[in-house]
């Protein structure tokens, strides 16, 4: 890593430098508020979020604090869900009632397991609650409702496993689809987006599912080591007796087939992603929604047909990520990004895969959804036309030159 990576990906290096220069740092946003409680919330955001902090901070002021607190509300839930040290009954009760804590001044939680990296958020949760209760009630209602449904869903799944594909859809709906729905409702309520955006529950759900499924696929090894299973047996059962068998030597072919089946399932959400993105109007909301989506298409493309998923933690290069963040400014640019990755994805599909044709058909459907409205910056067709016409002209000149050169001879024959 390092110099060699930068040398082989110079555009990514340029993107990194530009990103470092232009994107506001955490302290900028924190400086704008004089409220120490709110400042503390933004510190929590930086502490707990790897990928969302920057995009949340670049939202317009109408939504920035709302989304920050929505994120912290869900992060609180997530910390409890992740905590393996809590007794199951207690955990279920906490998950089911978490939404009510959001409006309980002074509530905090100090019983997290030692390994919980985000435990400090719950220890000081009263700070979050204080800020949350300052939000416009219309935002509070949406967030409480979202946390209620998510908490209940997490509670359901803390006592049952993901077995069928329906389970998988439902689990992803609870932990990610609901976030999509909640965000749409918040965008609509803020007035920045169409008031009807909140009703697009199916599309909003798909946004979350594309991200969540991509993460679940990528995190196969990590989850396996933590004895967690999110891949549905209905899919992996086609390829292995136990999910863990996929990592074993000798099972490489089955492992790849299973991985690719999972990737195909995740990719099927792409048409919905565009149906949603095309509805957005506010540039900062657009970027907020689009950036995780372009990360997901890049990640799923990297992961597809990649045996390393079973050996190590596969990630996209930091430079690649930054380049995507810089590019994803409008729907046309995002179309361009998806088209590039869909083509890479297609190039990695091999005919021995049991789902080879199904994957090709799906990529065709995704491209057919994205291509018609895409305005390319430059076109290969134009280059080809130029080269072709040039060659043809040369041919004609050569032809004429040879006829002219031989015209003396031919004139004798024709008697001219």
């Amino acid at each position: 890593m390092g110099v060699l990576t930068w040398l082989s990906h110079p555009t990514e290096l340029v993107a990194m430098i530009r990103y470092a220069v232009t994107v506001p740092s955490a302290s900028d946003t924190a400086d704008k508020t004089n409220d120490p409680g709110l400042q503390r919330c933004y510190e929590f955001l930086d502490m707990t979020s790897r990928s969302f902090a920057a995009v949340i901070k670049s939202l317009s002021p109408t939504l920035r604090d709302v989304i920050c607190l929505y994120y912290l509300a869900l992060r609180g839930l997530d910390t409890i869900e992740d905590d393996m040290s809590l007794p199951l009954d207690y955990k279920v009760t906490l998950l089911r009632s978490f939404h009510s804590f959001l409006t309980q001044p002074g509530w905090c939680f100090t019983e997290s397991g030692e390994n919980e990296k985000d435990a400090v958020l719950l220890v000081e949760y009263d700070v979050v609650i204080e800020q949350f209760m300052k939000l416009d009630p219309k935002f509070q209602d949406i967030i409480v409702d979202s946390a209620k449904r998510m908490g209940n869903g997490m509670a359901d799944f803390s006592v049952k496993r993901v077995v069928s594909r329906d389970d998988y859809e439902l689990y992803c709906h609870y932990v990610a689809g609901l976030v999509g729905e909640g965000l749409s409702a918040l965008f609509a309520a803020s007035g920045l987006e169409d008031p009807d955006l909140g009703k697009e529950t199916e599309l909003s759900n798909s946004l979350g599912l594309f991200l969540q499924k991509t993460n679940i696929i990528r995190d196969y090894l990590e989850d396996l080591q933590d004895t967690r299973q999110f891949w549905p047996k209905e899919i992996w059962g086609l390829y292995a007796k136990e999910l863990g068998d996929l990592t074993e030597p000798g099972n490489e072919k089955q492992a790849l087939a299973c991985l690719n089946h999972m990737c195909m399932d995740a990719l099927s959400h792409v048409p919905d992603v565009f149906a949603y993105l095309e509805k957005l109007r506010d540039p900062s909301v657009f970027r907020f929604v689009a950036i995780p989506q372009v990360m997901a298409i890049a990640t799923i493309t990297t992961v597809f047909s990649n045996y390393k998923v079973f050996q190590q933690n596969v990630k996209i290069r930091k430079g690649e990520a930054v380049k995507l963040i810089m590019r994803a400014n409008n729907v046309n640019a995002v179309r361009g990004i998806f088209i590039e990755y869909l083509r890479q994805f297609h190039a990695k599909n091999v005919s021995t895969d049991p789902n080879y044709t199904k994957i090709n058909v799906l990529i065709g459907q995704c491209l057919a959804r994205v291509l018609p409205l895409y305005q390319p910056e430059s076109s290969c067709l134009a280059t080809g036309t130029m080269i072709g016409t040039g060659l043809a002209l040369l041919g004609i000149i050569y032809y004429q030159w040879t006829t002219l050169a031989s015209s003396d001879v031919s004139s004798h024959h024709t008697g001219l």
């Binding site: 083509r343 297609h346 091999v350 005919s351 021995t352 080879y356 044709t357 199904k358 090709n360 058909v361 990529i363 065709g364 459907q365 491209l367 057919a368 291509l371 018609p372 290969c380 067709l381 280059t383 080809g384 036309t385 080269i387 072709g388 016409t389 060659l391 043809a392 041919g395 004609i396 032809y399």
Partner: protein
Amino acid sequence: MVESTSSAPVYLVIGGGGFLGSHIVDLLSERHPEASLRILDLRVPNKLPHVEYFLGDICDPELVDRACAGVTTVIHTASPHPGSPRAIMRKVNVEGTANVIRGCQTQGVGNLIYTSSSSVVMPAQGQVVNADETLPYPSQFADYYGETKAQAEELVLKANGEKALRTCSLRPAGIFGPRDQQMVPKGMASLKRNAHRFQLGSNRTLTDFTYVTNVAHAHTLAVEKLPTDDRIAGEAFFITNDSPVLFWDQLRGLWSLVSNDIRPWVVIPDAVAYAIYYLVYYVLALLSLFIPGFKSNAAFVIKLLLTHRFYNITKAKTLLGYHPIVSLDDGYRRSVEWYLESQRE
């Protein structure tokens, strides 16, 4: 029981002995056992006991009149394949269709369904991207087949409402399936010659293909709805599998079912393929200046690999109630099964 006989519909499938026609006959027999079926064709491979045959030329007025007498709905699906000589395409597609319209009108046929082609909107220059039926015919057609199909379609749609005849036109794209004489056998044959190892173009263009049963399904829907639904009369409909694929993926869908390794050895990138296209185009144009009557569509074939050709079938979905009933994936499997079977015989 004169009444019950007269109320049972009579369907005439022109070209019913051919690839698509035979699938339409199968589906009509299955879904409308009460109907009488007739076939008009040059020849038929094997005769079905429940069908009445009229063998001969669709340009023959007397034959067409006889076949049309007492018919409820004519399904006109006869057409030479796109590589046929120009004179044949003109004769069958334009003159033949005009004769069929005349026959329908003099014999009091109620409905005429014409099998057109998605190529009626394919221009000499430019792409067909998500095209719907509002797209007009191009001023210059990509090939003569599309041009004659468009002329025939225009005649058919203009005849709607004249002398109590109701008409509509279906525009299928890239039909393939069992009994196919083009894509499936030729594609499979190229596998034997290792021609599949050579990929012209970067495989970036989306192309619609349609499994034959889906096209037949669209025809039976038109048979059922055209007599009573005014929204359909006088209209054209694109018919596809609603699932465009990158061009080479169609053939690879077939090949992958019989071979484990179908990777191309040579890929000619788009820019070079375009250069080849223009070279071939100009050379052929030059040749046609010097050789009287010389016409070749070799350049056109290259162009097909380099241009998007996919369609929006919302109109067929909403008005005809059409949805593909066989997926591409299943279509490939059924086609290859049929092909292997036919090779064994």
